[in-house]
């Protein structure tokens, strides 16, 4: 960070990076417990003057669904959702994610909430962005203990989607679907390559010079704080309060 840069929070940086990854698409959907992806999606919409459509699970305002919970999945199955977000208790170097448990599934040593829609959406949403704000050897592992959703599939498996990137509190990786490997794209301001290497449990590719993740612009921060934050408070009141100092409007 140089002196001319305004101060920003880690969550604002991550949301800005994810908004760039979303790109120019028609429909972004956000699932459970995803405040940073929700922030990024609403930012993309604020930048795009109402494009993309954002379907925010748990929101009354940012959903157009009228056919129940299945409509999201039916929509995705038809290719009508361009971007989705997934996380994992564990994520491995082949892009497999684990949202269920560690150890024998019958006698696990740790239990996570469950797979949600991942075992399906990972296959049919073209751009799945992985996010995990705890970047450690505990979360980024050589091999997941349980596959909720696989990073890649054999050629005869119907698969129109999969991971394109993984963002953490320390860095951004892109995903190569053919090699089924992550490549380090940039390290966030205040973090180092050495720190990324030490805290990542899987092998990944990297360029000779690893760039620093660009800081969010003044305009991006304005949109986040003035436009996005109040909308976010509907679904993530605690996150909006903590990051943006907002009270829920309900």
């Amino acid at each position: 960070m140089n002196a001319a840069q305004p101060d920003f929070r880690d969550e604002e940086l991550l949301a800005a990076v994810v908004a760039d990854l979303i790109g120019d698409v028609r429909h972004v959907a956000v699932g459970n417990a995803s405040p940073i992806p929700a922030t990024a999606s609403l930012l993309a919409r604020a930048r795009g003057n109402g494009r993309p459509y954002v379907s925010l699970l748990g929101s009354q305002k940012h959903t157009f669904w009228t056919d129940g919970g299945r409509e999201l999945f039916d929509c995705a199955g038809q290719g009508r959702i361009d971007v989705f977000f997934l996380s994992g208790g564990e994520i491995d170097g082949q892009g497999n994610i684990n949202l269920v448990s560690i150890g024998d599934p019958e006698k696990p040593t740790a239990r996570f909430p469950g797979s949600f829609g991942s075992s399906y959406l990972y296959f049919v949403v073209p751009k799945v962005i992985l996010f995990r704000t705890e970047h450690s050897k505990r979360t980024l592992v050589p091999k997941v203990s349980y596959i909720s959703a696989p990073g890649g599939s054999d050629d005869n498996i119907h698969r129109t989607g999969g991971p394109i990137a993984l963002i953490t509190n320390r860095c951004l990786f892109s995903f190569d679907p053919d090699a089924r490997r992550f490549q380090l794209e940039s390290v966030h301001p205040g973090h180092t390559l050495a720190e990324v290497i030490v805290n990542t449990g899987f092998e990944f590719d990297r360029p000779l010079d690893v760039p620093v993740t660009p800081a969010p612009s003044v305009e991006t921060l304005r949109l986040l704080r003035q436009v996005v934050a109040p909308e976010l408070a509907e679904v993530y009141p605690q996150f909006a309060a903590r990051v943006f100092g907002l009270k829920a409007a309900s």
Binding site: Q60, F73, P105, H158
Partner: protein, 270 residues
């Protein structure tokens, strides 16, 4: 059709029942859940369409659940569901882990009266590997195109909470249409509502499309604030302070027992 009391309405939910319940954004019958715990219901097969939060955690903690089928149990922003997590680690409930669209599809199979529904995805997952009741076949209309088949889910009872019902047992569910799928798929449907609507919901053309016909409904009980402390979307929000207190208490067996004493057995708010 309109039950005299909540307990009367819940009478068809007996020990060993296969009970379907919705996710929290659709209207979870929490007052009814507390009444079932007070009655000491046992050995439920609880099926969440497609996820659950406090409802599953409470029923599991109180020892009411034998088998749980769900895509996830979580308290969302409030964190992991403590009694669910403890029960899985202890092995005291039987888990049938699913994925959201699989549950939606299996309920749809039941509502259509067909034995199964195909679903994309799932191949190569441990979700599929741990579900011997799910099958893989080659798409008969394709060429080397494996696809997963899910058996229809036919619950004994569907239980949820809605904004209103009329005296003919028609229930207004608005946009929460998975409640309609759930009712169609289940043998019986029991609904708690905030209030009774004067007149017939199906005769009001703006309300009819968001109405579950009384034809599918066994009983309705009026329970104001019936989702508390969960939200009834567009009517009331989460009771944030209560959920925070729950998370704190439910972290230990003793704390959870105290929670039950204070908020379930004391008949408070229900």
């Amino acid at each position: 059709m309109i039950a005299r009391t909540l307990d009367d309405a819940l009478a068809p939910i007996s020990d060993g029942c296969v009970l379907a319940v919705p996710r929290e954004s659709s209207g979870v019958a929490m007052a009814a859940t507390r009444a079932l715990i007070r009655r000491g219901i046992k050995r439920l097969t609880l099926i969440a369409l497609p996820t659950s939060s406090l409802q599953a955690d409470l029923l599991i903690g109180a020892g009411c659940v034998e088998t749980l089928e769900t895509s996830a149990v979580s308290l969302g922003e409030f964190g992991a569901a403590p009694r669910f997590t403890a029960a899985v680690l202890k092995g005291s409930i039987k888990m049938r882990d699913a994925t959201c669209p699989a549950l939606h599809a299996a309920f749809q199979a039941s509502e259509k009266g067909v034995p199964f529904m195909p679903l994309r995805g799932l191949l190569g997952t441990d979700v599929l590997k741990n579900r011997p009741d799910w099958k893989v076949m080659d798409n008969p209309f394709g060429d080397d195109d494996p696809i997963v088949l899910l058996p229809a889910i036919r619950p004994d009872v569907a239980l949820f909470h809605a904004p209103m019902a009329d005296r003919d047992g028609n229930v207004w569910i608005g946009r929460q249409r998975e409640l309609i799928t759930m009712a169609h798929a289940s043998e019986r449907t029991i609904v708690t509502v905030e209030k009774l609507h004067d007149g017939n919901l199906l005769e009001d053309k703006t309300l009819a499309a968001g109405t579950l016909p009384g034809f599918y409904v066994e009983t309705v009980a009026v329970v104001e604030n019936g989702c508390w402390p969960l939200p009834l979307p567009e009517y009331y929000a989460w009771d944030v302070e209560h959920l925070k207190e729950y998370v704190k208490l439910a972290a230990t067996d003793e704390g959870f027992a105290k929670y039950l004493d204070q908020y379930v057995y004391e008949r408070r708010a229900a």
